[in-house]
Symmetry: D2
Subunit: 340 residues, 4 copies
């Protein structure tokens, strides 16, 4: 009954097998190996374009902070939702990597940025007014921190607004696989075709040991050398890069990342239905991926915890239950039984 996080699950066996497979012979260090080269081809197929550069990291916080720091100067700001992971869960990593840039926080339901708030923030940017900190980026998260998905159309719409105002568009895709599986959109449609300039494509929550890919599209590729320099100086240029590449290859190559995400999403749907069936539980946010946020009756959370269930209370009064690729029907049945 561990619904605490998708990161408490083990990695998929294909990942371990891939690590074993690349573990032979000498390979150039720091990304010069043949497996890292292969990742390029696989990404090109997944993203339906060749117009990108990428960097592999073991950490989602690092991926986001590196991506943001290439586009937000120390004197600039980043527009994001007030519950975004970069604001609430990364201990100031964006501020650290940007050298003291600011996050400008926007409201919105289910951790999706409200359009009016976005428009107002964009309209207020004045690079000529030296006292205030102008935004240089819009950072979106899909799935959001509340498990909701932005549609491709909304991303494209917001990205267009941001571009009009001269901003770069960042997508925190720590759970992009879940959003893709849930909406049926292609990775290309949800990212560069929608106007995303820099993507953090997450594989860790989906099933890797630790593998997140920073991807620069089109004109953003001008920052590729800077991205590597920043990766190096922040300790995110591992000498034996082949083992990060192996994880990416194992998950991306044959669509495994999407099928694992679809499995986790399916379990979340089951869980949501089961939680709501008795009628005394309501959902706080849409279940667009592998996370269920539920308002529990008084005392229920304590009772469940006492029976060994693992999950977290969430700001706003709900509780979060996360399904992983390893979540089983039995896990869900056990939780529902414990609730009875």
């Amino acid at each position: 009954m561990d619904f605490s996080s998708d990161t408490s699950a083990p990695t998929h066996s294909a990942v371990i097998e891939a690590l074993a497979a690349v573990n032979t012979g000498r390979q150039a260090s720091y990304g010069g190996d043949e497996y890292t080269s292969r990742v390029r081809g696989v990404l090109a197929a997944v993203l339906e374009t060749d117009d990108f550069d990428f960097w592999l990291t073991a950490s989602g916080t690092a991926a986001n902070a590196l991506a943001l720091s290439c586009f937000c100067p120390p004197t600039g700001a980043i527009l994001c939702h007030e519950e975004a992971h970069i604001q609430r869960d990364e201990r100031g990593a964006p501020e650290f990597f940007t050298g003291g840039g600011k996050l400008s926080l926007l409201p919105g339901e289910a951790a999706r940025i409200d359009e009016m708030a976005l428009r107002e923030a964009l309209a207020g940017i004045d690079h000529g007014f030296v006292h205030e900190t102008p935004a240089h980026l819009l950072s979106l998260t899909n799935l959001t921190e509340c498990g909701a998905a932005y549609s491709v159309d909304t991303i494209a719409h917001y990205a267009a607004l941001a571009h009009e105002a001269g901003l770069t568009v960042h997508l925190d895709g720590a759970r992009l696989s879940n959003a893709l599986a849930s909406t049926g959109a292609s990775a290309a449609d949800m990212t560069w075709r929608a106007g995303v300039d820099v993507l953090c494509l997450g594989l860790t929550k989906t099933g890797a040991i630790g593998c997140e890919i920073v991807i620069l599209f089109g004109e953003a590729r001008a920052k590729s050398a800077e991205l590597q320099a920043r990766a190096k100086r922040s300790g995110h240029m591992p000498p034996k890069m082949r083992y990060l590449a192996a994880q990416a290859l194992a998950l991306l190559d044959d669509g495994l990342w999407l099928s694992l995400a679809a499995d986790a999403n399916q379990k979340a749907k089951q869980l949501a239905n089961a939680l709501c069936a008795p009628g005394d539980v309501t959902l706080a946010y849409p279940v667009d991926g592998n996370e269920v946020f539920a308002h529990l009756p008084a005392g229920r959370a304590e009772a469940l915890s006492a029976k060994g269930a693992k999950f977290y209370p969430w700001p706003g009064g709900s509780h979060r239950f996360v399904c992983a690729w390893t979540t089983t029907d039995e896990d869900i049945d056990a939780l529902i039984t414990a609730m009875a």
Copy 2:
């Protein structure tokens, strides 16, 4: 004939096996797992003490920068050798993590700090003189960047001098295993018993995929929470920590790290002897570990490269040949044949 780096070698099969072994069931994220707990016990045995805290990272640059940033304020400096890895090969990571601290560079043969230079630097520290940046740490590296080893006595002597002057002592142990294997010293004698306050114990160059351990001894443990906060905000707190722990356990548990280092050292000795046998090659530095720095006759380096040998030119005119745990007699024979 790949003598380019110890990091171009694969990981030891025991590491892959360890990853597979921990790859089962749910584990608490961010270091709360059972394997990370076990590392503590293994380290206690290796270090012959319980008086320490530790943090696992995948990167040596990160380990050093995190360690240094806990002890050097933005207004302070770090004494190190002018050829130290933190100065020459980490793209400003110490300056980044400390928020703009300075490295104060000291000379010395074979990348070992000269005692007189150290004494002079320590004597010059004046915390009351606000214009200059006072040193807060002494950073030593063992093996040095020139493949030489500090003896336990020298480390203890330098640490005592540094402590007298109020400094913290950091040891960059990216190749500590090689220094231990070469000198026969115990890890305890070469670190905390010699006065080292914060150790970066490297396993990557020895044979891990990527595993470096920051270890705070004694009073330095007061920085343990800060170390974790800094690790988090720099993207060095992977959610699935068990896979870092597995690497540490595989290599430390049964002395594998030391036997792999001894093997690499042995190959370096063989290589050095073979290189010098014809009489036209001289060693630039002592071969105290797994690295050989040789002055080659004119044209030799180009000829070797043309035949496919991999190695690097080094500041000062020598060339560096690195042996790894995978280096074989055949590798050495091939190089010597190529030189003939």
Copy 3:
């Protein structure tokens, strides 16, 4: 009709005279001069205590950022109002000086922090939860950015709450003189006796050329050397400190700062009354100092500007009119005439 800012006014003639008076002979650089020493005595009289250290700066942004950076680590946060000067008008100076610390924003009427929001924020601090950034300081502003005053009692109450939670209390006193003149409180009562640990006492808006004093009270004095080191490296340690000292002496010595503030406050009262007399203008916030925020009828602002009046629109739809020590009855009459 210049109501744009108190900083568009000239300095008081006493300040120019003081500069001329100290302009003789050699004086030790960097604060070692006799005039800077005299400031200590004058501050002791003003603050009714000897238990403080201080540093003179020419800039209010610098004073705040230096003060905050001594108490908020890069991994920490500062609680402040969402309209605070440090958040809206200092271009990220707190983030820069702290090395990437965060501002955690609180709501409240008239830019005074709401007590419930403060209590909630304090209750949510968890230094053991590494993912979130815990607050280390509470920063209050008096006058607030909306021209309202905190009472001594509220400051004392909020400071007590903050101290209970382990926070340091900072007071941005860019317009402290106006708050003191308006409330009749003593400087001691409104600062250290109320629990303020670090005060930025502003004289620039009151009538100096540029003189702000960072004052560390009681236990906060432990940061005195760090404050100086941070001042030095940020370019806020002028060699000829005597000219900053002269400004402080001219304004503080005989209560000139308070009488100038009282004059400006009085003019603001007159202005508010005159603005509201016709019945179509309402005040947005209390007039507790030298600033008037008024809701003007449609078209009025444009009409006034066309006639040469200077003032600023303010977030929330009001307009700000600032009185300075140089504001005259004629200035006010001219504005009122222009409105007719």
Copy 4:
């Protein structure tokens, strides 16, 4: 007998008069005032060009750090002499303002960079080698920290070498007036015509209260907005800018800065001659400006100090005697008498 520093001297009376003269009426804040506008015209005359932007600061450390931070990214380095003020006397300001950039130190006599060392450093820059920190700027100082002057030809030669290597050229001109007075060169010839891209023109040591001008020439003007944003966030955008402008106008307008510098230089020549006359004192460096560095016989420094003379010991064993615009024949006679 105060030869401790040129900054222990008072300001010239023309400066005080200028402050009094601008102290009337309202002026726009933050550099929008008429006096700051006038500085532009005066600078254009002094520099014989209109192709520049400028910013006024009260601090030389700030001027340098702001200038450098506009051209050196956090991942970059600055080439400078190992005794440069930015390395030895600014408490890490360049590292702070650049967000962790590095200073790469070069040797050379009398704190003038050695040409061979410069060529070697420039040749070693490899932006493609991510591990090392490539230089983005060359920073020269004229006068140097040892009181020697670079000739216009040397500056032009070094600047050409730097430009060929893609670097920006910074000139720390804290004592530029002394170098100009000593060499007879024009300000234009020694700066932009010689290839200087960004100049810190110092007036404080010459006779201002505190006034240093950052000047961006030609293509460097692209950084003008960034310079202002960085000035704002570091507390170097004083609201009442007119008082900085007044200082600049008083000193630059009629060549007063050069005549004051010439006076100080002349006194330094007299002092050097007098010191050397008895034959037991030798000069450590050329006397190209207002500073004399002398090797004193054993016991002489202590004896002089005992008689009340003020001066500083210097690295390398000499002692520094600084003349200011206020230094008199009597001051020099008194020192010489004390030495007898």
